[in-house]
Structures are given as C-alpha cells and as structure tokens.
Symmetry: C2
Subunit: 352 residues, 2 copies
C-alpha cells in the first residue's frame, strides 16, 4: 500500500487518528458516463432487516470515471480522489476500510476488471476485500439491497441489461454504446427522432410533429441546421436530452414519435429477455420469480406514454415471474451493500 500516492490525495490521513475499534467502514462506488458517486457505510451487524434509512456516513461526487472516455490514468485519479473525499468526510481512513465495491461503466471484459484491481490493490491495505464490476451491477444491487440476483435494465443516455443467478453466473445484453446499436437508449430514441426530422425534410420520410417541436426546443429555424448542431458537440447526453420532446409528441398522438417509442420498448425488452433466457432466471419452466430492477431516465420520466411500464408489460408476457423493482437507494449505495454482503459472507465462512 502506497501511503501518499498521486500528490495529496491521501494527505488528509496524516491528520487523522488511526482506525478506532468498531468504526470499520465499507465503500461503494458508482461510476457512470457523467459522474462518479462514492458512499461510505459502517460495517453493520448481520440481521434479517437492514436499517431504514441506511446510516450513510458520507457521500462524495466526482466526474466521469469511464476509462474508455477519459483514459486510464484520469479515470484512476477520479476514482481515488472520490474515495479519499468520502473517507475524509466520514472522519475515517483507509485502515478502517473492510471492503470496497467499485462499479464503473467501461468494465466490459475481465481485462478491464484486472486493470482496475491491479492499481486498487496498491491503494488499500492487503486485507481489504476488493470487488470491481460494471456499473450496471451497482444498479441491480440498489434494487435488491445488495443481493446479487435478478436482472437490471438501465435506460438513461445509454442502455444495458445485466443479470446474475443466485449461484453466481452472470450475463449482459446491449450496453455496447450507440455505434454498436443501443437503439432503446435515450441517445438512441433522440437520434432516431432527429433522423426522422431530416428524412421528412429531404423527402425520404413522413412529416411529423417532431420537426417543429425539436427545432423549437433547440432554437433552430430549419432542419438543415441540425447537421451543424449535432457536429458541434458529439456528447451523447446532449442528444439524449431530447427524449422528453419525443415522448410529448407521442403523447399528442404523433405516429412517427409513437413508432420510435414502440421500437425502443421492443429493444429494451429484448435485451432483458436475452439475459433472462441465457441465465434461466425464470427457471426451467419459464415461470420462476426473479427481481427485475428498472433504472434510468428513459424508464422513469414519462406521464401518459410510460416507456418503463410498456417494457415491463412486454417482458411479463414472456416471463410472468418477473418482479419489477424501482430502487429506493442510489446505485453507489447498492455497490456498498454488495461489498458489505460479500464481506459478511466471507467473515461467516471464515468463522465456520
């Protein structure tokens, strides 16, 4: 363990007392495309019921920590900094940490996982339990309160389905980014709406309400200005921010917008079904029960046209045992509960 790596990140520990007995902590991190959240939880005694509300000791927020987007060293620095800030705010330090669960977008392959574990091992004392996952795993755990079982569907700017069986097998679908066809994502929905505007303008597609609604929203006067607008800033989140406009058009009866949302529902449901099928989450007979955690702006922020509800209905037709859950805690807390569960399980195993 390197005590004072990366400039002053861990300097605060010099002025801290070393770990006091009974103040052991757990760190949970959720690193998404736009921000990274770290929460610090106490090591709670094992009981049937988790305290409500959970005794979150500290919470820290930083920028993007996806190594695909910002590069490996920037991602690492962000992750280390946000952990140091959470520990410092909690009046704790690395010697008090028992387990860390780092759930970061961009972890798509065992190699990504190993890269992160390699440097994370240097940051903490050797007895600390370390877990590295895709950020979807934190979202799943936020719905199941740390239990790694079921399927999560995330549909925000991007989309992914991720599932775990109770015996530890895992599978994912989608989540490969818009180049690789995440059509049900917020970006996908908005890009299809922008495409519909261009197609109507140049004579390839049907006229729709999307044209006036999107141009008004963006303050543009003609569809050909959309080309410059999309080039000006290729951020996916900026494009995905148009989803509410598409939903409004569909709610007002626009057929083109309605078709885009129906296609997205099919895409999102298909990614969940692929995971459920591969993991047999519904048992051999297809009727078994499993948690289906639903997360992200696309699944939440609708009124009469409710994308989330339509996705659930589409999944229930094939898998009636799916049990939809809208998480009450944030993904970083899910990650912390995951770390806590692992830690308690290993402690129990150790005592036997």
């Amino acid at each position: 363990m390197k005590r004072y790596r990366n400039g002053e990140i861990w300097d605060f520990e010099r002025e801290m007392p070393v770990s006091r007995d009974g103040s052991d902590v757990i760190l949970g991190l959720d690193g998404g495309a736009t921000s990274t959240v770290c929460v610090c939880l106490p090591v709670m005694p094992c009981s049937e019921q988790l305290p409500d509300p959970l005794p979150v000791l500290a919470r820290a927020v930083a920028g993007c920590s996806n190594h695909n987007s910002v590069g490996e060293s920037a991602a690492r620095e962000t992750l280390e900094q946000v952990m140091a800030e959470a520990l410092s705010k909690a009046g704790s330090n690395r010697f008090a940490v028992r387990a860390v669960c780092l759930a970061v977008s961009g972890v798509n392959h065992p190699i990504d996982q190993q890269h992160i574990l390699n440097w994370l091992r240097d940051v903490f004392p050797s007895h600390v339990k370390l877990f590295v996952h895709n950020d979807a795993v934190a979202a799943l755990a936020s719905g199941t309160m740390g239990n790694l079982h079921g399927c999560v569907l995330i549909a925000g700017t991007g989309t992914i389905s991720y599932g775990f069986t109770e015996d530890g097998r895992e599978a994912r679908a989608a989540g490969a980014g818009p180049i690789l066809g995440d059509l049900g994502s917020g970006y996908g929905i908005a890009a299809q709406a922008l495409t519909a505007v261009i197609r109507a303008y140049d004579g390839r597609g049907k006229e729709s309400m999307l044209t006036s609604m999107i141009l008004d929203t963006l303050g543009l006067s003609s569809p050909d200005e959309l080309i410059g607008w999309t080039y000006a800033d290729p951020s996916w989140a900026r494009i995905a921010a148009l989803v509410p406009v598409v939903v409004s058009c569909a709610e007002a009866g626009d057929q083109v917008a309605n078709k885009i949302l129906l296609d997205s529902v099919d895409e999102l449901a298909a990614s969940v079904k692929a995971v459920v099928r591969r993991l047999e989450l519904c048992g051999k007979d297809g009727k078994g029960s499993f948690p289906l955690v639903m997360v992200g702006g696309v699944l939440e922020a609708n009124k009469s046209w409710d994308i989330g509800k339509e996705v659930i209905n589409c999944i229930l037709k094939d898998y009636p045992g799916a049990h939809p859950i809208r998480p009450k805690v944030e993904p970083a807390v899910g990650a912390a509960l995951l770390a806590w569960n692992f830690f308690m399980k290993e402690s129990e195993d150790g005592h036997r």
Copy 2:
C-alpha cells in the same frame, strides 16, 4: 485582396512574374472528410468537345477541410494552402485566376456558403468569379463534365444525394452524418455489421459469419472486445473500412450480411428517389432522362454482390430515364469544369 496573408502561404508570388496574357487559369477544389484536392486548369476556349485528356496544369493535396470537423480557421488555412500550392506548381499566381469553385463537405446551409465566400473574397482579386458548394456538387460535375444537371449519389464513408435541374434548382437528401441516420453509407453498413455481432453474442440476434470474419480482420478474440475497439478511435472511416468484410460474408451466402446490404441498397436508392421526385428530374411523366452520377467506395468495390448495380436497378424501376454515369475524372476536376462553365457563360452573357 490581402497579398501576404497567413504567414507565408502566398510568399511564392513575390518570385513569380505577374500574369502573362493567355495563361489564365481556373481552380477547382474538392474538400472531403479525409482530404482536400485542388486542381489548376487553363481557361480553355469554348468548344463542343473538351480536350481528352484534360490539360491539368497542377494538382495539390491537403488534409480535411470540413469546418465542422476541424474548425473554421483550420479549414480556411488548409483551403488557402492547397490553392497556393496548386498555383505555385502550375507556375501561376492569383492574378491569373479567372474563377474558383470550392466544393467542400460541411457546406450544408447558405450560412456556411457565406462564411467561406467572406474570406475567399479577401484572398483573390475582386474580378475573380467565386463559387462555393457542398462537395457533392463537384462529384456531380465530375460525371457530367461540368454540367450542373442531374443527380449524384455518393456512398463512401458517408453518403449523400445531390441534384440540380437545368434551370438551377437544387435539392439534397441524406448527407447528415451517421448520428442523423445515413444508414446506406460505408459507416452505416459497417456499424450495422458490428451491431449484428454484438446482438448475436448477447442473445438478441441471429448467429452469422460476420462474427468470425470481423474478429479475424480486427485481430480480436471475443465480441465484447469490440466495445473497447469502437471507443478507442471514433473515426468513421476506420469503421467504414469493414465494408468489404460485410460484402464477402454476403457473397458467401450469409443471411445477416445480405440483409444489411439489401437495406443499404434501399436506403441509398431512397435518397436518390427523394431528390429526383422533389426536382422532377424525370419530368412530369416520370420518364424523362437525367444523368445519375455514382461515386464512392461502397458503389465501386464489389464483385458478385454489386451494391452500385443493385442501387441503379432499384432506381430504374421507378425512374427508367435515369442514365448512370461512373465519372472518369476526379471531383476536383469536376469543380474546375464547373467554375470554367460558369466563367464562359458569364463571359458570353457579357459579350452580348
């Protein structure tokens, strides 16, 4: 006219004799996504037949000059430099120039055109005729030898259809970039193939030959490595380079690859049809004759699965008067011929 703008770009003129009588020249520029070409042609006498081969005095090549990609000042510097180099190689200078046609990708709106004309006016003496167009216009002119009539379909990394009537009306379709749905482009074809690999891998789509063929081509061992590969370098040309792999799979009978190519043919033909319909290029009865210029790697580089031929067949079904042309000169020469045509027409009008 500023004589020595932008450092030393025009310094070579100091050591040149001023324009000699009878050595008037024309400049034609084609600025695409990857490179910019400038050719210098002599002002030829007006005759029924153009000399073959054309007496190209000089040719210069530079990088990307799309202001959307590289920014306005870098685009301008590239354009000015490539013109200076062509003139210098031709042993000529700006005082000998009679007309310039600048056809650059990224000119999607009259505002883009005006921006370029504003600084171009400063570069040349005030009597020089200046024309600014989208680069598709140069491609059209390369097929019609400078005659601005008909429709061009470009399908390389990107795709666009652009048409002109004999009385000067114009229309375009597609060409808005991949975010805005240019599905028939090389990028679009390859991105759909990559998506098919991911969908087969995660259980959402059918297995196909594309998986092994694409992984082999890229030297990857598993489809989940494609995520890192696409993120590593978002260049559209890098992705579009996979088109020959998709064509090979379709030629070997793969159904998924075949479907991607068939969809692309429909998309490409639809963009031409939209332009032809809007401009009534085929006359009121739909049977009139018009030039259909076909340009770009997607339309050229096929063997038994010939995308270009399929697109032509699809267009001929609706518009039997379409007259397909594969250009024999490059787009920059088309731009120069366009400038020459304009110049000769204006000279004739002036003499009357």
